[in-house]
């Protein structure tokens, strides 16, 4: 639970709260929380029934929040909840990556003509170096 021996519990919660007005916790949470069931490579294991059985606790936690959307900070959690648990436990909930939530919440200050021009030049130089031709059939 502690990535690199350090628990990053508050940072993703802060980010989520900047994007959502009504944020609710699951219970239990942080160090007492439960794995979604797809961790440790289990998403790729050939033990689907066991993975769904494992996830029943996460499914119940999600249902108990009555939330409309669940945020996952991990590819495996997102896939397990979105493609596994939602269907198996009829959760009726939308799942997003944490960074997907951020991407969907952005208010973008438009780039200036100058910025666009400079980026286009860098892009063209890179595509020439890498021999990228988007008009070419492949």
């Amino acid at each position: 639970m502690k990535t690199f021996g350090e628990a990053f519990f508050e940072e993703p919660r802060w980010v989520t709260q900047q994007c959502c007005e009504n944020y609710v916790e699951m219970h239990p949470n942080r160090m007492n929380n439960f794995c979604c069931g797809a961790g440790g490579g289990a998403w790729a294991m050939p033990y689907d029934a066991e993975r769904i059985y494992y996830g029943r606790i996460k499914a119940q936690q999600i249902m108990d929040t009555n939330a409309k959307m669940v945020i996952a900070p991990c590819h495996n959690c997102r896939d397990q909840i979105m493609k596994g648990l939602t269907k198996e436990f009829d959760l009726g909930i939308e799942t997003k990556y944490l960074w997907e939530l951020v991407a969907d919440s952005l208010v973008i200050e438009p780039w200036t003509e100058e910025e666009i021009k400079k980026a286009n030049e860098l892009r063209d130089a890179q595509y020439e170096r890498d021999e990228i031709d988007l008009d070419e059939e492949w």
């Binding site: 069931g37 991407a103 890498d130």
Partner: protein
């Protein structure tokens, strides 16, 4: 049945017989584990098996792979038994061709071709350019492109191969954030894999190699920050 020799030297799981005393057999680990009962197993039983010399039986069982290495058992253990280390060691000791599912194949593919799914460099670069064009021309991000092997960029970004392989548009979430932040970022044309499956398959050598590639990219491209969006 052959007699079992129980000592630190004989134990494949590197478990000392003292564990038999350290573990109270209280079952706190088992009580908090979501897969207690599957195959008649639980973390407490796994610890007993290791303490009693039934290493091979544990290694051959499905339990270390049904366990997600979440660590809830170890966190709750009043005696500090290193259950996670034991479980992953059991995975390491499984013969490589008997590692369940695709993860060992992915590790071998990554070592050979630079990513777990064997996506060729040309296809990857073309895909990035194609997606970039969509953002630039159709999705409201004029000037956007995905920088590759850009020396001196602030952030080096690794890629989860499932995205270019099956969910390419999902790469745009980060790209949109970079665009809004005017971030100076880059990824690499080869060996960009961010999913280090050696962690899960119990393959320390492969883990080291794959991690070393990322460190090498950071040094060669002189990037100050690594973003590993896993």
């Amino acid at each position: 049945m052959e007699p079992l020799t129980i000592n630190r030297k004989e134990s494949k799981l590197r478990v000392a017989p003292e564990w038999a005393d350290v573990c109270f057999t209280c079952g706190t680990c088992a009580g908090g584990c979501p897969v207690t009962g599957v195959d008649g197993m639980d973390p407490r039983k796994a610890v007993r098996m290791a303490a009693l010399g039934l290493d091979q039986e544990l290694i051959d069982s499905r339990f270390p792979w049904i366990c997600t290495l979440c660590g809830r058992c170890e966190y709750a253990c009043p005696q500090g038994v290193e259950i996670l280390k034991m479980m992953r060691r059991a995975r390491s000791l499984r013969e490589r061709d008997k590692v369940p599912g695709p993860i060992h194949k992915g590790v071998a593919m990554c070592l050979e071709r630079g990513n777990n799914l064997g996506i060729p460099k040309d296809d990857f670069l073309f895909l990035l350019a194609d997606l970039s064009k969509e953002m630039d021309e159709d999705e409201g991000f004029p000037g956007f492109y995905a920088p590759v092997d850009k020396k001196g960029a602030n952030i080096l970004v690794t890629v989860n191969s499932k995205e270019p392989f099956g969910e390419p548009d999902d790469m745009k979430f980060w790209w949109r954030i970079f665009y809004a932040a005017r971030e100076d970022w880059t990824t690499t044309s080869t060996e960009w894999e961010g999913v280090n499956w050696g962690l899960f398959s119990g393959d320390d050598e492969a883990m080291k190699e794959v991690t070393g590639r990322i460190v090498k990219h950071l040094e060669e491209l002189e990037c100050s920050t690594l973003l590993l969006p896993e």
